[in-house]
């Protein structure tokens, strides 16, 4: 490990001794002032050099003094070329105009869209919500978490479920960030919807492997979601009215071009129909969720910019006065961007994140629930050292509070108000990484992340024997650390550009995870508990290697990628049969630990241009586990061990006003435990199990269809001088979206229960299917 650090230091010092000047600035969208992420700034005279704008739209390029032609290039936008004579540091802020559809017709030779070949990002899925607008989804509710499962390597956690599995990992092994704040439970209504209202989102980035050192904390993937900043040019509104929910987003400048804000709200209203029910207790029932996204940003000076963003969401279910159940996340982020000089960009964040659920048994006079709360400090620097090195480094510290069981009782309730013991911890990290353009054909991103976890009191800390019984108890006082874990995580990703249309990429990354989700149900539930590392629970760890080949055809009209990966997982958590995960002070005694391996090949063939677009994705993969105390210690398939996974997504634009889309998915059924026999006790028949996950659910497939009808997008008039037709984009844009989920009404198995038929007494397998041909209509507008 020492050698890596030394090498890093040498590489960095090389760049310190050259006399160069730099050009830096921000890059925004001309129409709404949104920061543009990942715009390529290229120097025509020096092929293979340049920079890309960061997540705040900031860029910086260092060059020898001289005259250069700079190109600002971004997919979907018009390229800007500027000739600049550099003698000293220059600030150059740029606004790019979107390439509107009419322009595209005239511009036959579109600029090169070969990001997938040139970029050093591997195993990364990027999209913005606009791109997935027409893909049909359940209840017509656009959902980034569900759309991402249509891409190779990402699998849905089940029918209508917004959980996902990345490369054989578990659903809790994905770090989901919303404006840097971790979101602990990303689903609404038992997973049928995700908490992300796509109208408020700007950019989604899912890293499946070869994570850059700036990310850490989960062993499978990082999904980095960024909210829009809000329109800084003028007032705009986006809204939608759907079968199940409605939403509205308002964006406006605070001071034009200096600051803006965004407010976005969404609520479902399925329960409104319950009011027409004849039974009073049903009439008084509630079943809904809402969420609220807020964001504001303001440039206090040329060099300083402040961002405040927040998310608040709640699900609410109640049955008259007797029973209530609500859960949700709240997150808040305050960020300060500071430009120290043209080469050094800094971002400081303070982040709050909270997830809780409450169950209120009004009938019996008590309520209970659980809560996880984080305070998170992040300091990130980006140093645009020179045209070859782009260095990022920073630190991060999270203070976690876990309250796994909180009880409130009214007087006289048959329950005492003893909470389950809280636990506290500090999760820290420091990283440094360098994006190094070795030559015009070879670039490498390498870095190292140090992470640690300190578990601290107050509390009684238990040790357990092999049977899970307490053998020893030690009491720690407040702030006293009782266990530390330290880890070094090397990361490296390389890209060798073979020629203009193909490249080979490879990566290695190690990740550690210090918080774990205890979910003892098949579908994931709001009552799942997060548990941190302790004297008993060690951090989960993964090591992943990847190798990929990327090839474009027909002037980048088609993209093909093949990626292989192998992932080793260690210290995974499993449960003893009958583990009690809720309201159990001794839950750690119910846990078992094991290891896993996941490997596979992912194929993606994509057409990005023209009236007909879409992709075919295929994944061939395995995911296996070995846990002492489960399945006699033998390896067994993980639930998400779906060997074949195919998705076909097509979108066709018939005209300016009509677009249609279809997506078809097929995958091998989940590995599952079925009984291999039965036995009887006290007149009741019970199932007899012989092996873990030894059976398969039936294979899953369905097709979703959608049609979008757009209102007139353009005003046409005749130019009085030239007599030519002029097309002008209308301010008010609207569309109707009609879709059918599972159009051929396949009865996909959601659950198979093995039970005794109440009438015949015969034991039988009963399959439960959820959604058959669910139609939906959504009206959307923006102006």
């Amino acid at each position: 490990m020492k050698h890596i650090l030394t090498a890093l230091a040498i590489l960095l010092s090389i760049s310190l001794f050259s006399q160069k000047v730099s050009i830096s600035g921000s890059i925004k969208d001309k129409t709404n002032g949104e920061d543009l992420i990942g715009v390529n700034v290229l120097i025509k005279e020096l092929p293979g050099t340049g920079a890309a704008s960061n997540v705040y739209g900031f860029y910086s390029v260092s060059l020898e003094p001289g005259t250069y032609t700079l190109m600002y290039r971004f997919v979907g936008y018009q390229t800007i070329e500027e000739t600049i004579t550099l003698t000293q540091n220059v600030v150059k802020n740029i606004e790019l105009s979107p390439e509107s559809e009419i322009l595209e017709e005239f511009k036959v030779t579109a600029e090169k869209d070969d990001e997938n070949i040139k970029s050093n990002e591997i195993s990364t899925i990027k999209f913005n919500p606009k791109e997935i607008e027409t893909i049909p989804v359940l209840f017509g509710e656009k959902d980034v978490l569900k759309t991402v499962t249509l891409l190779p390597g990402v699998k849905s956690a089940g029918e209508g479920n917004s959980g996902f599995f990345v490369r054989g990992g578990g659903a809790d092994q994905n770090l989901i960030l919303l404006d840097e704040a971790p979101v602990y439970n990303a689903s609404h209504l038992l997973g049928f919807f995700s908490v992300f209202n796509s109208d408020a989102l700007k950019d989604i980035n899912l890293v499946k492997g070869g994570m850059p050192a700036q990310y850490g904390g989960r062993v499978s993937s990082v999904m980095d979601i960024k909210m829009k900043e809000g329109n800084s040019k003028g007032l705009s509104m986006t809204g939608g009215i759907g079968t199940i929910s409605s939403k509205l987003t308002i964006e406006a400048p605070i001071v034009k071009d200096k600051g803006s804000f965004l407010i976005s709200a969404r609520r479902t209203y399925a329960d409104i129909f319950l009011r027409f029910a004849p039974d009073t207790s049903i009439r008084d029932s509630r079943l809904y969720f809402y969420d609220l996204n807020l964001k504001a940003n303001y440039s206090i000076s040329e060099k300083d910019r402040i961002f405040v963003s927040g998310y608040f969401g709640r699900d609410n279910f109640s049955f008259g006065e007797s029973f209530g159940f609500d859960w949700g996340n709240a997150t808040g982020t305050v960020r300060w961007n500071h430009i120290y000089n043209s080469k050094l960009f800094s971002n400081t964040s303070v982040i709050f994140s909270d997830y809780k659920y409450r169950i209120n048994i009004g009938a019996a006079g008590f309520s209970f629930g659980s809560n996880i709360r984080d305070w998170n400090f992040k300091q990130d620097f980006q140093w645009f050292a020179n045209d070859k090195h782009n260095v990022k480094f920073g630190i991060n510290a999270i203070y976690h509070t876990f309250s796994p069981g909180e009880i409130e009782v009214e007087e006289g309730a048959p329950i005492s108000d003893d909470d389950v013991q809280q636990s506290f911890g500090i999760e820290g990290a420091a990283y440094i990484m360098d994006e190094f353009k070795v030559s015009s054909l070879f670039n490498i991103v390498y870095g190292i992340r140090y992470s640690n976890y300190g578990a601290m009191g107050p509390g009684d800390i238990y040790s357990y024997d092999e049977e899970g019984d307490v053998v020893d108890t030690t009491t720690y006082s407040s702030g006293q650390f009782y266990q530390w874990y330290h880890n070094l995580e090397p990361r490296i990703a390389m890209n060798y550009i073979v020629n203009d249309v193909s490249s080979i990429k490879a990566s290695y990354a190690r990740n550690n995870q210090y918080v774990h989700l205890l979910s003892n149900s098949t579908s994931g539930s709001p009552t799942d508990i997060w548990l941190p590392c302790s004297n008993n629970i060690q951090p989960q760890q993964s090591d992943q290697v990847t190798l990929g080949y990327f090839r474009n055809f027909k002037k980048n009209m088609f993209e093909l990628s093949v990626e292989g990966y192998y992932k080793w997982l260690d210290r995974l958590i499993d449960y003893r049969t009958g583990a009690q995960t809720n309201f159990n002070d001794f839950v750690e005694g119910d846990l078992l630990y094991g290891s896993g391996k996941a490997y596979g090949v992912e194929l993606l063939f994509r057409k990005k241009k023209g009236d007909f677009t879409g992709w075919i994705g295929y994944t061939l993969s395995r995911s296996l586990r070995q846990v002492d105390g489960v399945n006699n210690g033998n390896w067994y398939p993980a639930r998400q061990d779906r060997i074949h996974d195919i998705s076909v997504v097509t979108m066709y634009s018939f005209s300016e006003r009509v677009a249609a889309s279809a997506s078809w998915v097929y995958y091998t059924g989940d590995a599952i435990t079925f009984p291999s026999g039965k036995y009887e006790m006290n007149g009741v028949v019970y199932n007899y199990y012989t092996e873990r996950n030894g059976y398969r659910m039936p294979n899953y497939h369905r097709i979703d269809l959608g049609v979008t009808l757009y209102g007139k997008k353009f005003k046409t008039s005749i130019d009085p001088d030239t007599g030519n037709e002029i097309k002008k984009e209308k301010k008010f844009q609207s569309n109707w979206n009609f879709s059918v989920y599972n159009a051929y009404a396949r009865e996909n198995a959601y659950q198979i229960n093995f039970e005794e038929n109440a009438d015949t007494g015969q034991t039988e397998a009963v399959q439960l299917s959820l959604f058959k041909a669910i139609p939906s209509i959504t009206y959307s507008f923006n102006f």
């Binding site: 209504l189 038992l190 049928f192 399925a270 039974d279 207790s281 079943l287 279910f317 049955f319 029973f323 159940f325 169950i359 048994i361 019996a364 048959p414 329950i415 005492s416 003893d418 003892n520 149900s521 098949t522 539930s525 009552t527 499993d574 049969t577 009958g578 309201f583 159990n584 002070d585 639930r639 435990t673 009984p675 291999s676 026999g677 039965k678 036995y679 006790m681 006290n682 019970y686 199932n687 007899y688 199990y689 012989t690 873990r692 996950n693 198995a749 659950q751 198979i752 093995f754 039970e755 015969q762 397998a765 009963v766 399959q767 439960l768 299917s769 959820l770 959604f771 058959k772 669910i774």
Partner: protein, 264 residues
């Protein structure tokens, strides 16, 4: 908590028009294993040991019972009680009752093979009252009964409770097939109550309610079994049994407090 969750899931699913059908799943044939139910209590009638064998899942015949087993139960003072067969696979011991705070060992010999287990009879906690009221809960009408008792503060207590219902015109009591258990983590040392929601009663019903104190392994056994049968567990398995040799079932000492009410 589990019930409330399944109710939510149920309601949501109903709202979303789900569909259920019986399917044929190709299941392996597992080796048939012994199943022992061993219950000893402070009430003589309630004591029994039953031996049978597991079967293939799709088997339609009755379960095979095991006769001619030699069964003894020995307490920690060395007193041995023999259980003898009274009907196919059912064994009883006349005059035997289990006493509080005593450890019992079971020995079962079948065809030269011994199966053993141990259990501990905890103290007795008596029922305070069983009030009932008429009403509607989750849409169905009838009488709901509540079981009240006072938990001893000194120790961890584990409970299993059960009821037998006899409506007007019935000849016998029908047991409640559901597994009802609780522990004092949430009510240590205070008066507590639990609704007997697994069943609704009608006017004129006679209801026998048993509150049974059990030891921790038996509590864990029933907890695991109820979770597995709920159908919502991510990874179902056989509950960990205190019986040796991979035998299914349990051997438990249950300290019963019994009360009878008539709904009127």
């Amino acid at each position: 908590m589990r019930t409330s969750l399944s109710i939510i899931l149920f309601l949501t699913i109903v709202a979303l028009s789900s569909c259920e059908k019986v399917i044929l799943v190709d299941l392996n044939e597992a080796d048939r294993v012994y199943v022992i139910e061993g219950q000893i209590t402070n009430i003589e009638d309630m004591n029994f040991i039953k031996i049978s064998k597991s079967d293939d899942f799709y088997e339609t015949e009755e379960f095979e019972t095991i006769s001619d087993a030699t069964i003894t139960v020995t307490d920690d003072q060395g007193n041995v009680s023999n259980f003898t067969e009274v009907s196919d696979g059912l064994y009883k011991s006349a005059g035997f009752t289990a006493t509080s705070y005593t450890k019992y060992s079971l020995s079962v010999w079948i065809n030269g093979e011994e199966i053993t287990a141990e259990t501990f009879m905890p103290g007795n906690t008596s029922i305070d009252s069983i009030p009932y009221l008429e009403g509607s809960f989750f849409g169905s009408e009838g009488f709901n009964a509540f079981l009240y008792w006072t938990d001893p503060g000194s120790e961890r207590n584990y409970y299993k409770y059960n009821n037998w219902q006899k409506s007007i015109g019935d000849n016998a009591y029908t047991p409640d097939p559901s597994i009802s258990i609780t522990e004092d983590a949430l009510f240590n040392g205070i008066g507590t109550g639990i609704p007997l929601f697994s069943r609704q009663f009608e006017l004129g019903d006679t209801v026998i309610v048993d509150l049974m104190e059990i030891d921790e392994p038996n509590f864990k056994y029933w907890y695991a079994l109820s979770q597995v049968t709920g159908g919502q567990t991510a990874a179902p398995g056989n509950p960990i049994s205190n019986l040796s040799g991979g035998t299914l079932g349990y051997f438990g000492a249950y300290n019963i407090s019994r009360d009878t009410i008539v709904i009127e």
